[in-house]
Amino acid sequence: MEIVFWITAFVVIASAVGVVTMTNLIHSALLLALTMFGVAVLFVILAADFLAAVQVLVYVGAVMALVVFGVMILQRGPMNLSNMPSKHVLGGLFAAIATMGFLFWGLGSTEWPVSEAAPAATTVEPIAELLFTKYVVAFEVAGVLLTVAAIGAIILAKEVRAGD
């Protein structure tokens, strides 16, 4: 089990670094899919089987398809220069390292109340139960949000003119 975590962690970090350093946008997109898949493997190790399936379906499937279609529609000019860094590389490096240090300091100085209990054998039923009882309002709001986002995306991408 340990070796699976280390291999997955290495793949996730290495491909995430690839996403932000590649100068070809399609390479970045494919490495992003690999990162998402690695996160799904982490969810399996963490006994979150339902979330792992959702991660593969929504991120590796839907979100990546959307991003690749976006690249296909929008990209002009040579592909190997499509993802160049801006002039803010040093500032970005400083911000990223500062954030990382701050997060490390926070999680190093916190006493986590770790429990040794066994995880739930199956997660689909408990998640469904929570979604439709305790968090039913949030669930409905999420449904409304998705509907609004879908309609808004169509209107934004289609361009509605005054008089239409």
Binding site: A16, V19, F50, V63, P85, S86, S115, P126, I127, A153
Partner: protein, 102 residues
């Protein structure tokens, strides 16, 4: 044994890489990819907390489900905005999109 801290460190590193991408990329789609990395890092955190601090309860995973919903909506609207921008300004280079700057 892999502990909670391992996952938290991994998520912190992933979050910082995503932040680096958001700040340093010129292409608007690449900026969107950086935001996706950051949201994924948060999901790792929530699921790890759910597994190690309250293993019999799945509240952390329910939160992760909501974050995935919001991330999906964010990508759809974000790409639509980028398409509208590309139509109006003929570019998606973040350095040339400075309408609010003078």
């Amino acid at each position: 044994m892999i502990s909670l801290t391992h996952y938290l460190v991994l998520a912190a590193v992933l979050f910082s890489i995503g932040l680096f991408g958001v700040i340093t990329k010129r292409n608007a789609i690449a900026i969107l990819m950086g935001i996706e990395l950051m949201l994924n890092a948060v999901n790792i955190n929530l699921v790890a907390f759910s597994r190690f601090i309250e293993p019999s309860d799945v509240v952390g995973q329910v939160f992760a489900v909501f974050i995935i919903v919001v991330a999906a909506a964010e990508v759809a609207v974000g790409l639509a905005i980028i398409i509208a921008l590309a139509r109006a300004r003929q570019t998606i280079d973040a350095e040339e999109l400075h309408l609010l700057k003078w």
